[in-house]
Point group: C2
Amino acid sequence: MYGFSLLKTDKLSAARRGVLRTAHGEVPTPIFMPVGTQGTVKALIPEMLKDAGVRIILGNTYHLFLRPGHELIREMGGLHRFMNWDRPILTDSGGYQVFSLGKLRKIKEEGVSFQSHVDGSAHFLSPEKAVEIQNALGSDVVMVLDECPPYPSDFDYISKSLDLTLRWAARSREAWTDSVSESGRYQFGIVQGGMIKELRHRATASLMEIGFDGYAIGGLSVGEPKHLMREVLSYSVDWLPEDKPRYLMGVGKPDDILDAISRGVDMFDCVLPTRNARNGQLFTRSGPINIKRAEFREDKGPVDENCDCYTCRHYSRAYLRHLFIAKEILSSVLNTIHNVRFFVKLLEDVRIAIENGNFTTFKTEFMRRYEA
Amino acid sequence: MYGFSLLKTDKLSAARRGVLRTAHGEVPTPIFMPVGTQGTVKALIPEMLKDAGVRIILGNTYHLFLRPGHELIREMGGLHRFMNWDRPILTDSGGYQVFSLGKLRKIKEEGVSFQSHVDGSAHFLSPEKAVEIQNALGSDVVMVLDECPPYPSDFDYISKSLDLTLRWAARSREAWTDSVSESGRYQFGIVQGGMIKELRHRATASLMEIGFDGYAIGGLSVGEPKHLMREVLSYSVDWLPEDKPRYLMGVGKPDDILDAISRGVDMFDCVLPTRNARNGQLFTRSGPINIKRAEFREDKGPVDENCDCYTCRHYSRAYLRHLFIAKEILSSVLNTIHNVRFFVKLLEDVRIAIENGNFTTFKTEFMRRYEA
């Protein structure tokens, strides 16, 4: 009953329609996962997420490990119960944040030591510890600890980093005792290797030899040019097994998501809809707008007249502009609802298009309007 | 059909149970009105207010006049539509904020000139203008422009200020063209006079001679000792007509509200539940707590086990503490929901107690537990 199934594959592209059956319910794919860094998708209550059609969210292990601590969350009945979210949760391994936020970090074979960005306290994260933390959280999809090399990095650095990442992957799998079919919980490996084809190939082959319940492509959308991301993504996806879910980490913009779907990616996460909402950027089918602009001062229309979200059903652009200018908390709430719904709806439309066999047409038409 | 009716008067105190029928629905009294300063009760969507049992909210004329401007709100269909709130709204006159927030203010017979605290722009508010603004907003209960003397002030200052306030009250009534029975909209006069009995008496007599649809007691809870507030309140309420609603502005703490109800006050507003929520202070039947305290770190219980609010139904103290410490927006949302519900429920319980003829017992028992 638990497990990943492919329901349909597109004829004109590598796009796939599938379903990930987890302990907390089914996730239709392709899927977008809003980010809930510290045990909350910022500004929203779970009912708002459900109303926006959210099926799975992402939690950040690094943040929850530091505050309030995974032992506390375990004690409170796990992350789902703690944050009142009964649908699936994917958690990252903490590695990405250790390397981007942690201070005085020191990588060793055993793991990585670092100081908390919050209070400077010293911590240590190992592949086994990352599994333990995510088990304490009760995540439905658990990611292995990896190192994500910055862009650009040279071959030697990336190669050595990858070797360590692959040894960590093997240890992570060793520390994993759940089976998908019994627990409905998944452990995903992460393909690294920078922008270097032979390293990406080595990474993929090694991870598949270890054998994970799903595969993520990491180390993209880290500052490289768009064409390079797409090139690396293209072959990286092709090498992955057909019958396992594929997750492109930290992506992204609507055009990047549609491109990745056409290459066969199933899962996405990004802070774009939530973070940009708080900065006043709202996504519409005709491209993003910034709600603070004077042109919206007396605009009685909704953010996007084709949007069915709570915000668009009840509020004018003029009101949203007022809330943003007046720095009201409700601005973040209503903007986030809209942006989350925009991404969720985009993926809903994608799934329908794949089912109907017209994904490529949908993608072309969406992008024509979005970039007009 | 529109109008204020007394339904029951308490035997052992002056507490009253009534109903205010407005163009946007009925308001049972005694009632607490959460404050929605800038076209939003901070952090909450209207559904959350309704779920908390809120029947009427207060809007701040000063803030809305400056930003986004009453003409814009009129153009958008009025404040109710602008902010998506279809229940009654009471608006203050803007006077209190002009005197507390406005810069370089200059009081003349005609009105008061001041500079915006937001951008320093020059503005002028007169009794007629305050009516015009509140008409543009479409408020259900409109307050007259007054001057609220700071505490302490001397007799001469308060007396002269009161004379002007009373002349302004007459002009405000002159500028008012609605009748309650036809429009369901009310204009309230405001009793000033500092802590001086003879001035309060003069104020009340003059306002009653002008004749308003309701009467507010202003100039209390401005820093005076509690016993003085209660003394002034006591005679101030006694002089007011039985058949009109009585509103104690800016009050207050649960004990002050219960005291005022026992003296015959019908309506209350205060930023206490909303502002304190954002600072982590949560009201419970056993007194307020601060959610950031370490003792709540692993507390699985709700804020108040007797509370039926959304927050208490779904979240632990440990989670709320985590959100507050992590400075999450959701902290303000969930804390505000709880505090608003606490005040609304207190007044619901008061109304039931008055109906059942046991208000005094209720008050005593509530206070015994609250202050324990």
